[in-house]
């Protein structure tokens, strides 16, 4: 799908996006990338230039065990809307939710694409890698999805694991993980596929996050002789967990608009209280902002209208690894530990620790009574045995006996 012949701005106009709107979007993107908003024209020029030259990223978008929430989330993007992304940023041949073809036709088309652009295309994966029943829990065109994934990933230049499910399995892998789900990165590693994986955790992912990766690539990438961007600079800017540093370098808590209330000790202890009405910090009601790396307070959601904490909900830490197990109960300070990890299946670590501490304390008290009963302490204690006296005399040569 190429767009040669019509200028980028003409195509934007056709979708009701003015040049001014587009530059506003570029300004927002610049802020997200940690650049000054004066970089907006440069970003605009890069995007328009790439689009007009036809030197777009060839890309393929596949779904694993997905709820399609990430695709839905993309559809909420400010500018560009979903069509803009599909048509103008990425030369996207396949997106299983919105494409016409299905099953065998899809596989054949994708295969043809992968051969044509081998080693040069971006593979975007949305959804969990389902390995249950040897991968047969999820089949496309008569083949397990895991075969499809391995095939297309091994031919791609880079894989973008889009959303928590693709990163590590997301909520699908919450205990007891009946589908034996896993993430794209761990799965490809286990199969020896060396294609780099960019992790964009979050449930769902925020369209601005994907856009920022693409724009970052446009700004940084050199182009090879075919005009295809070289993605090395993007891959080199990932953190130890394979996430773009500029998106996951700080916690929700670091940038939270309620942070001042946290430092002042102004907390919501109960929903429906006056404190909640005053917009106080949600920490005691289980906010996972302090342990969740993401930029929600800055990017925000749904065309930057609001986000979880702004709308009064504690962060549930959806960008964490295995985030449901890690963060449930969502209104508690700790996850539970023990037999099960969800709901009533486990024990609160604080209660477990207090119980062990209580047992230790009780044991000491009981021991004290034992010491008394054994006449080791108290008025009738018999401490000094003859043996001890002998030993003390022997060892009291220098400095004198005590």
């Amino acid at each position: 799908m190429t767009n040669k012949g019509t200028s980028f701005y003409e195509r934007l106009e056709a979708r009701g996006v003015s040049r001014r709107d587009f530059l506003k979007f570029c300004g927002a993107t610049a802020t997200m990338l940690g650049l000054s908003s004066s970089a907006a024209p440069m970003i605009g020029a890069k995007i328009a230039g790439a689009a007009d030259e036809g030197g777009l990223y060839p890309a393929l978008w596949l779904h694993g065990g997905a709820c399609t929430g990430c695709t839905e989330s993309i559809a909420q993007a400010t500018y560009p809307n979903v069509a803009d992304i599909v048509l103008d940023f990425l030369n996207l041949v396949g997106q299983e939710t919105i494409q016409m073809s299905a099953g065998v036709q899809t596989l054949e088309g994708n295969e043809e694409f992968a051969e044509e652009h081998a080693g040069k295309y971006i593979l975007i994966i949305e959804g969990t890698v389902i390995t249950g029943l040897d991968g047969n829990m999820l089949r496309v065109g008569g083949h397990p999805f895991i075969e499809e994934l391995e095939n297309f990933a091994s031919k791609a230049a880079v894989v973008i694991a889009l959303g928590s499910c693709a990163v590590d399995g997301g909520w699908v892998v919450a205990y007891p993980n009946p589908a034996k789900g896993t993430g794209v990165g761990p799965y490809l590693k286990s199969k020896g596929v060396a294609t780099p994986v960019v992790n964009l955790p979050g449930c769902p992912m925020n369209p601005e996050e994907l856009v920022s990766v693409v724009v970052e690539a446009l700004l940084l990438a050199d182009r090879d002789s075919d005009g295809v961007p070289v993605l090395g600079p993007i891959v080199n800017r990932l953190d130890a967990n394979g996430r773009p540093k500029w998106l996951y370098g700080s916690t929700i808590h670091d940038n939270c608009p309620r942070r001042g209330h946290f430092e002042n000790g102004e907390f919501v202890y109960e929903f429906g209280s006056d404190e909640e009405a005053m917009g106080y910090c949600l920490y005691p009601v289980g906010c996972k902002g302090p342990q969740t790396y993401r930029r929600c307070p800055m990017i925000r959601w749904n065309s930057s209208v609001s986000w979880c904490v702004d709308s009064g909900g504690p962060c549930i830490g959806c960008a964490n690894w295995n985030w449901v197990d890690q963060n449930a109960p969502f209104r508690g300070r700790f996850r539970r530990v023990g037999a099960g990890v969800l709901g009533s299946g486990g024990v609160d670590p604080a209660i477990a620790a207090a119980a062990i501490g209580g047992i230790a304390g009780a044991a000491l008290i009981a021991h004290g009574f034992g010491m008394k009963a054994a006449k080791r302490i108290g008025s009738n204690a018999t401490l000094k045995t003859e043996e001890c006296k002998e030993w003390e005399t022997k060892h009291a040569k220098k400095g004198g006996a005590a």
Partner: protein
């Protein structure tokens, strides 16, 4: 083995380091409980400041205590005023050999007399020495959670490893680290309870000595 606690056992240097340890642990535990759950409003900034300050104090005190043990002289045996360089009390000593099991038996009422041992008995020495890695573990897990240091690769690697044990695939979720940090505090609380109990079970002479340097003329303790 019954003996009298003598002031030469704990010279002023170690009375001070013991006080600093106690104060640091008190403030760290109190502020730590508050940070875990702010049971009354209004003090979070104070609690966090207190927590960070006393952790650094505790770490420097530990370092000082270890260095000082090579220069400060303390008694080398129970029941004597004879002194030697303190670090010698912390290694494996002849007087400790074959004493671990008899010590355990004594506390389980399976043996009548406390075994003759060095200044610190086998169990005591193990427990005291264990506070060193425990303090370092508390510091490490704390730095792994603290915003300014959590992204340093040395701490991030630990977060990833620890999370991977409970959460296949790793990824560096902070929750397991948070729980570990909390449990280390409880390990300190239990240590402190046992320590205070065993030190003072016979009488409070050992406390008077370690806190104030006062020697009770007639006090005898059973171990």
């Amino acid at each position: 083995m019954a003996h009298k606690p003598v002031k030469e056992a704990h010279p002023l240097t170690f009375i001070l380091t013991h006080w600093i340890n106690l104060l640091a642990m008190f403030f760290l535990v109190l502020s730590g409980f508050y940070i875990h759950f702010p049971f009354i409003p209004g003090l979070m900034g104070l609690a966090r400041g207190t927590h960070f300050f006393w952790m650094f104090v505790l770490l420097f005190n530990l370092l000082f205590r270890i260095i000082a043990s090579f220069f400060v002289r303390t008694t080398n045996m129970p029941g004597t005023r004879e002194q030697d360089l303190d670090y010698k009390n912390w290694g494996l000593q002849g007087a400790n050999t074959h004493q671990l099991w008899p010590t355990v038996k004594y506390y389980l009422f399976l043996k009548k007399d406390y075994p003759i041992s060095a200044k610190y008995a086998s169990l005591q020495k193990i427990a005291y020495l264990a506070t060193i890695p425990l303090t370092l573990a508390a510091a490490y897990t704390g730095f792994a959670l603290w915003g300014p240091t959590s992204q340093i690769p040395f701490f991030q690697a630990g977060t990833r490893w620890w999370a991977s044990l409970f959460n296949w695939g790793g990824g560096g979720a902070l929750m397991p680290m948070r729980i570990l940090h909390y449990w280390i505090m409880w390990a300190f609380l239990i240590f402190t309870a046992v320590h205070a109990y065993l030190a003072n079970i016979y009488n409070f002479a050992p406390s008077k000595m370690i806190f104030a340097g006062i020697e009770e003329p007639d006090a005898l303790i059973g171990h």
